[in-house]
């Protein structure tokens, strides 16, 4: 076993401190009784209570969740379709160009994506609001979905699909009954990725949102410009809690799956 070393311990502590001290301070101050953010005046949960009364924040939160769910679902469908075409279509004319165009938005500065979408929406005379934010988010997150799904499809054994056709499936049934269940974990990770991207996007949302709908990141950002309030700290703490919960659940589930699978494989090896 590796011996305990002061150097390792120190770098570990410093690293984690660097990552988490800001968040811990934020969490602590969200329970501060004082209105002044930097002065500690005893423990209180009143800011959480006030947050629940704040219509503007609640509206923004609701919009954000709706946008995230709908846009990540659209992105998952489109991104999966694009991935299938890219991986399956073999060599066709302009394939390299097409695949390059799918991945380009990944490296495009968000400001440019946001600006071009804004120009498009103005050009076609679309009122900016929840619909435009959703479309914009679906557009940029579908590239991420397509990257995740195509990396799974590359290692997918085509003969499984052919076997399904051979046994009487139509093309669509073969996809629904064989391909999709097998690549489902990748599609779900793609959806989760798109969902988180949409949740914390500020730049593109600020280009494409309008007076009728604002997302939470925009709301927080504009509120902070007027000064940090303990309410914002409370809101941020809730978001940290949700994200932490999500990450822990996801990793527990995948770990349990891995353990189960390993146990089954060992059982199989023993008995053959």
């Amino acid at each position: 076993m590796r011996r305990f070393s002061w150097f390792n311990a120190t770098s570990l502590t410093l690293g984690f401190a660097f990552l988490y001290v800001p968040m811990i301070i934020l969490i602590i101050y969200s329970f501060n009784a004082s209105k002044l953010v930097t002065v500690w005046a005893g423990f209180s949960t009143k800011w959480y209570g006030e947050l629940m009364q704040n219509e503007a924040f609640l509206d923004a939160a609701w919009v954000t969740i709706k946008v995230a769910v709908i846009s990540s679902s659209i992105a998952t469908v489109l991104g999966t379709m694009a991935a299938i075409v890219l991986v399956r279509a073999g060599r066709f004319h302009g394939r390299t160009l097409f695949s390059g165009m799918i991945y380009a938005p990944l490296v495009m500065p968000e400001v440019i994506t946001g600006l071009s979408l804004l120009l498009l929406f103005i050009g076609i005379g679309m009122d900016r609001g929840i619909v435009t934010i959703t479309l914009a988010h679906a557009t940029f997150s579908m590239c991420y979905v397509s990257v995740v799904v195509s990396s799974r499809l590359i290692s997918f054994d085509r003969s499984l699909e052919e076997a399904a056709l051979d046994l009487g499936c139509s093309q669509f049934e073969a996809f629904r009954l064989v391909t999709l269940p097998i690549i489902a974990p990748a599609v779900i990770s793609g959806w989760l990725l798109a969902f988180t991207l949409s949740l914390d996007d500020l730049v593109i949302a600020s280009f494409t949102s309008g007076p009728s709908a604002t997302t939470l990141p925009i709301k927080i950002y504009s509120a902070v410009r007027l000064g940090v309030s303990p309410e914002i700290n409370a809101l941020s703490t809730i978001m940290i809690a949700i994200v932490t919960f999500g990450v822990i659940t996801a990793s527990l589930v995948s770990k349990r799956n891995a353990v189960n699978r390993q146990r089954e494989e060992q059982a199989a090896a023993r008995m053959t």
Binding site: D157, E162, A163, L165, D166, L167, E265, A267, A268
Partner: protein, 374 residues
């Protein structure tokens, strides 16, 4: 009355189940199947044999419907199936990689094709039971494919492709992943299942022993063409070309110049050697280049020159390969040519009659070899 032999290919009235009519398949510039025609009959166990890359898998995929011929027709029971998609063909395929569905258990894998046919549930259950019993998998019914061994997976793949009772079952190197012992057992199991179900099997293999064991007829392929189609014994005893003779089993080949002689030819071959004599019905070789192919087991080895035998040559033992049941002697002739002679080891090795560097006579009869023009 004599027992009727199963040989529909000799019966001019028999209707083939499958007919390839001048089928060509090109991938871009590359010709994978080259103007190929064959007939395969009902209840046949038809083996496709050939080196890697000769187009065996492509031929199967044409039958299953995953590839469309560039030209030519494929008939199944007299009907052109080229426009029929794979899911509408009464043909099932057992894939080289087995292609078991990893997210379904063994029962669901076998039931998969039956469900697509909208078969009533009790009938599906009964059919799956039957298939599980046939392939001796009943106790693994609820396992996932990754929870069973390679040999069991192969049987699941077989059960799944047989479940729909296809007219034709295609098996693409079905036993490639098994070790030798399991392979042999499975070959007999396959023959047994083929007999029980009466399904027509087309099997691809690159193992000539396997083809000889299981098949009613063997087709030897080379570069997208069929070189010879015949029963296993005919293809072994009377190959139609050096390629086939060389591909199926071991063979010694003498190249020489033919001149017509009693019932066959005299073949002048080596400097200062007596011409070899071979009886044959092959015509039009007089005065031409020809080949004499002789199987090692048809070559006798002796210390003295044998009397009354068609052909005899003197040589020196170069090497001996002891294979347990048989020994192969590699005998060097004066011109440097090596000839293989095989004898069964009926005696213990310590009493073997020949050893390295012994001078020996190799001999064979007039009818032991096959005279080939190419």
């Amino acid at each position: 009355m004599a027992e009727t032999v199963f040989a529909p290919w000799d019966d001019s009235n028999a209707k083939p189940l499958i007919q390839f009519k001048n089928v060509t398949k090109r991938f871009g510039e590359f010709t994978a199947i080259d103007d190929l025609s064959i007939d395969i009959f009902e209840q046949e166990f038809f083996a496709l044999l050939g080196p890697s890359g000769c187009g065996k898998t492509t031929l199967m995929r044409l039958l299953a419907g995953f590839e469309t011929p560039t030209s030519g027709e494929i008939l199944l029971a007299g009907e052109n199936i080229v426009p029929v998609p794979p899911n509408k063909r009464a043909v099932n395929m057992m894939f080289q990689s087995y292609a078991l569905f990893p997210h379904l258990d063994i029962t669901e894998n076998i039931a998969f094709g039956l469900k697509r046919d909208k078969m009533p549930k009790p009938d599906i259950d009964a059919r799956v039971e039957e298939m599980l019993a046939l392939t001796r998998l009943t106790q693994f019914a609820r396992r996932k494919p990754h929870q069973i061994s390679g040999g069991q997976r192969q049987r699941v793949a077989l059960a799944r492709s047989l479940a729909k009772a296809p007219k034709l079952l295609l098996l693409d190197e079905p036993l490639g992943a098994l070790d030798k012992k399991l392979r042999q057992d499975t070959q007999f199991e396959l023959m047994d299942i083929q007999e029980k179900t009466g399904t027509t099997f087309v099997i691809v293999t690159h193992d000539q022993e396997e083809a000889m064991t299981v098949a009613s007829r063997v087709a030897v392929m080379d570069e997208g063409r069929i070189v010879q189609v015949a029963t296993p014994d005919a293809i072994y005893e009377t190959p139609n070309s050096i390629y086939v003779a060389d591909f199926i089993g071991d063979v010694n080949i003498f190249e020489g110049h033919a001149s017509a002689a009693a019932d066959g030819y005299d073949i002048a071959w080596g400097e200062g050697q007596k011409p070899l004599h071979a009886k044959t019905s092959v015509e039009n070789l007089d005065g031409k280049q020809c080949y004499l192919a002789i199987r090692p087991e048809k070559v006798s080895i002796s210390a003295q020159k044998p009397e009354n035998v068609g052909n005899a040559v003197l040589g020196k033992i170069h090497d001996i390969a002891y294979l347990g049941n048989i020994s192969t002697y590699y005998v060097g002739l004066p011109d440097g040519k090596i000839v293989k002679a095989q004898t069964a080891n009926t005696r213990r090795i310590s009493r073997r009659s020949f050893t390295w560097e012994d001078d020996v006579w190799l001999s064979w009869t007039d009818t032991a070899g096959v005279v080939l023009g190419r």
